[in-house]
């Protein structure tokens, strides 16, 4: 079990790329800009949770941009080493192929979690001292952590593609395809579908009600599961109030997205000639 050595090497390598510094700056800028845009009128105050729940942070940054960036950070993780030849160096050391795949998931997760942490926590230093912001430290840290978990889901998806793809072009095609499926396309289809199913429509041959179909669609998409968990968390209701079953299912779905894509990639990789 040397996957932590692989992860450490990969993280050390990835944080030295310009990507990570650039992303950190971008996240700091976006969270700060979001805070500025939702700033309260003079003399009034705003909760830090309101900043996080704003359209800018939750919908634009976290569930739109973070998945895309996570996919970009990770799509080349395995296939890139395969194409350059450094995979031969890696596998001449005593790592199993599973060590390589899960080490990569962990290493790239660190490489995306670092800019997320910097991006949220650096502006938080200002929120703490500015009297116009009521800073809720627990919610803020929790939300940062959940954002990192969402990023890890997409890292896992991208590493899965990267492990099974024969070229980095195929890996990025898979990653971009997943992104368009789960982010713009899902968003475009969801609203009309919600309206249609809400009106009592839906295929009568399915043994499910329209509401159940909608819940399933929300859960399957990692960003949907993330929103279910994070909304409940921000209301202080996670696993205690509201639709607890839905929250538990959403949490499990996030775990599934983290574990299953790399495992599927590994199934193929185990049999492959380098």
């Amino acid at each position: 079990m040397t996957w932590t050595a692989v992860a450490r090497k990969d993280f050390e390598d990835a944080i030295r790329s310009r990507w990570v510094a650039g992303l950190s700056a971008l996240f700091v800028l976006l969270v700060s800009a979001a805070a500025y845009l939702v700033r309260p009128a003079p003399g009034q105050t705003i909760g830090s949770n309101q900043i996080l729940n704003s359209l800018f942070v939750r919908d634009a940054l976290v569930t739109t941009l973070v998945p895309l960036i996570a996919l970009i950070v990770a799509y080349n993780a395995v296939v890139g080493e395969r194409e350059s030849g450094s995979l031969k160096l890696l596998l001449s050391l005593p790592h199993s192929r599973a060590d390589v795949v899960f080490g990569k998931v962990l290493g790239r997760s660190g490489a995306i979690a670092a800019p997320i942490a910097v991006g949220f926590l650096l502006p938080a230093l200002i929120f703490v001292v500015v009297p116009a912001v009521n800073f809720d430290a627990l919610s803020y840290l929790g939300y940062t952590l959940l954002t990192a978990v969402l990023a890890v889901c997409f890292v896992s998806i991208a590493v899965g593609f990267s492990t099974a793809a024969s070229s980095s072009r195929r890996a990025i095609a898979g990653a971009i395809g997943i992104y368009f499926l789960f982010v713009p396309l899902w968003g475009a289809v969801r609203f009309p579908l919600q309206f249609y199913l809400g009106m009592g429509g839906g295929p009568s041959w399915l043994p499910l009600s329209g509401q159940q179909v909608l819940r399933m669609l929300t859960l399957i998409n990692p960003t949907g599961s993330f929103k279910t968990v994070s909304n409940a968390f921000m209301q202080g209701a996670l696993y205690t109030q509201g639709d607890v079953n839905m929250q538990v299912s959403a949490t499990l779905m996030l775990v599934v997205w983290i574990l299953v894509p790399p495992l599927l990639g590994l199934l193929w990789f185990q049999e492959a000639d380098l």
């Binding site: 090497k9 050390e12 790592h95």
Partner: protein, 304 residues
Amino acid sequence: MAAIELDGVTKRFGDVTAVSDLDLTVPEGEVFGFLGPNGAGKSTTINLLLDFVRPTAGNVQVLGFDAGEESVAVRRRTGVLPEGYDVYHRLTGRKHVEFAMRSKEVDGDPDAMLERVGIADAADRKAGGYSKGMRQRLVLGMALVGDPDLLILDEPSSGLDPGGAREMRDIVREEADRGATVFFSSHVLSQVEAVCDRVGIMREGELVAEDSIEGLRDAVEGGETLVITVDAASEEDLDAVRALDGVSNATTDGGTVTVTCDADTKTAVIGALEESGVAVKDFQTEETSLEDLFLAYTEGEVSA
């Protein structure tokens, strides 16, 4: 126990056969030179030992472990300088050696290892800026981490200047003296003859010769190369020459015929040529070197 044991191993990529029904045993503690021209199947054989590729047929055992099922155990005791590798461009030389140490779960001083392979002064530089020779030294250093029982070096001298190639041979000797088995490939005989106990020569996926350097020398002892100037000779004219006892190799470019043979077959060679209707204008003889024999094997005119 043999350090390396291949038993009827075949590897096909699509309809290309890279290695064909190969049997090869390297005993523990031996320095084995694996020779052959590029494309002969040397790297594929090495990739089979490391489980980079899986055999189409046959059985591969390394250090008593199954090379496929127990590959991690094999690689824990093996240091590897692979072919066609790349380094991590953003990581320093020291980081590379530290990574090898963590991967092999051994403690050690990365700087001492970099010193041993001669790149201590570049320890803090990113490996992306290293020359080919420095990368070879770095990866050799990673291979030596943890005093492996087996060293597998694929074309270790490539990219090294003559001084670097000599240091590489010195390290191979040190490792062999420590008791390690060394298996290394080369397409240049001179790089291996000084350090090898035994060599194997690959051609087109098959092992065409397997002998000690002394054995090979004995095979060429007294052998001569006869260079004959003729009016015109074709491949068919050489058949009679090749059929003679004591002739190991015969080639022609039309105007000259080159024959490797025992010293006392020279007259018979000339006679056979003239009987085939080739007019001999002149001839001279040269002693056959080990290099000539190697070339004769790898160019395919001799079979074991």
